[in-house]
C-alpha cells in the first residue's frame, strides 16, 4: 500500500446503544483489506475499549484511523473531563464508573490496560477540564 488510508468517525456520547459502531466499521474494513485475524482482533478490541471509554467517561468524541504500509494508528480524541492521574487510570481495576455503568456491563477498570496490551504503542495526552487524546499504534510490517 503506497498511500495511507484514513477513516474518521464522530462518536456520539449521548447514545450508549450506538457505542462501538466505529469499531465495527473498522473491523469490517480491515477484513476487506485482507489483514490477518490476529491484527484485526487486536485493533478491534483496543479501539472498542477506547470508544466505550469516550462514551461513558467523556460524552463522546472523535475517532481517526490511519492505515499505512507499516502500521494501523488509532487516535481517539474527546473534550471530556480529562484524566487527572494517568498512572492510576492505567492500573487494572481502577475505575470511576458509577453503578449504572456497571449494570451495563462495563466499569471493571480493565479497558486502558487492555488497550495497552493489544497495541504496540499507546500514548495518553490529557488535561483536566479540557479532554483526552489517546494514540495507539499496531505494527503490520
Amino acid at each position: 500500500m503506497s498511500e495511507a488510508v484514513r477513516f474518521h468517525f464522530d462518536v456520539d456520547g449521548e447514545n450508549f446503544t450506538s457505542a462501538g459502531e466505529a469499531s465495527v466499521a473498522i473491523k469490517k474494513t480491515l477484513r476487506q483489506m485482507g489483514f490477518s485475524p490476529d491484527i484485526i482482533r487486536r485493533v478491534s478490541i483496543a479501539m472498542y475499549e477506547g470508544e466505550i471509554n469516550m462514551v461513558i467517561h467523556a460524552g463522546g468524541g472523535k475517532a481517526d484511523v490511519t492505515v499505512d504500509s507499516e502500521k494501523i494508528e488509532i487516535v481517539l480524541a474527546d473534550n471530556g473531563p480529562g484524566i487527572a492521574d494517568i498512572g492510576l487510570a492505567m492500573q487494572e481495576g481502577y475505575s470511576t464508573a458509577p453503578d449504572n455503568i456497571r449494570s451495563l456491563g462495563f466499569g471493571a477498570g480493565m479497558g486502558l490496560p487492555n488497550m495497552k496490551r493489544y497495541t504496540d504503542s499507546m500514548d495518553i495526552q490529557s488535561t483536566v477540564g479540557k479532554g483526552t487524546t489517546i494514540t495507539m499504534q499496531i505494527r503490520i510490517a
Binding site: R102, L104, G105, G107, P113
Partner: protein, 123 residues
Amino acid sequence: MTIREIRDLLDAQVLTCEQSLDHQVFSACGSDMMSDVLAYVKDQAVLLTGLVNSQVVRTAEMMDMVCIVFVRSKQPTPEILELAKEAGIVVMATKKRMYEACGKLYHSGLRKTDSKGDAGAAQ
C-alpha cells in the same frame, strides 16, 4: 460440540442465524461483565450472559465469538437481534440460569482451555 448441541443441551430457543447451527465450537465463557470478557477471554467461541444490551453483541463481535446464549429467559430486543444478524452471530435464549447452563455445557465436554492454558473465564 456444535451450536445445535448447545441448543439441545440448554433447551434453548434460537433467535438468529439458524443456518449456522452446525458450526463447531470448542470453548465458552460466562459473564455479565463485558469489561471482563474483553480483558480475560482468549479464544472462547460462545458467550453465556444474563446481560441484555447491544454492547453484548458488539463485544462478542470484537472477540470473534460465534454464539451468544442469554440465560434466565432474558429476551433480546429486535434491535439487538438485528445487530447479531449483521454480525453473523447465533443468538439463543434459555430458561436455565448461568450456573446450570455453564455446568451443563462443561459437563458435556465444552471445556477446552485457551491457548495460554487458563480455563475459560467464568464470573
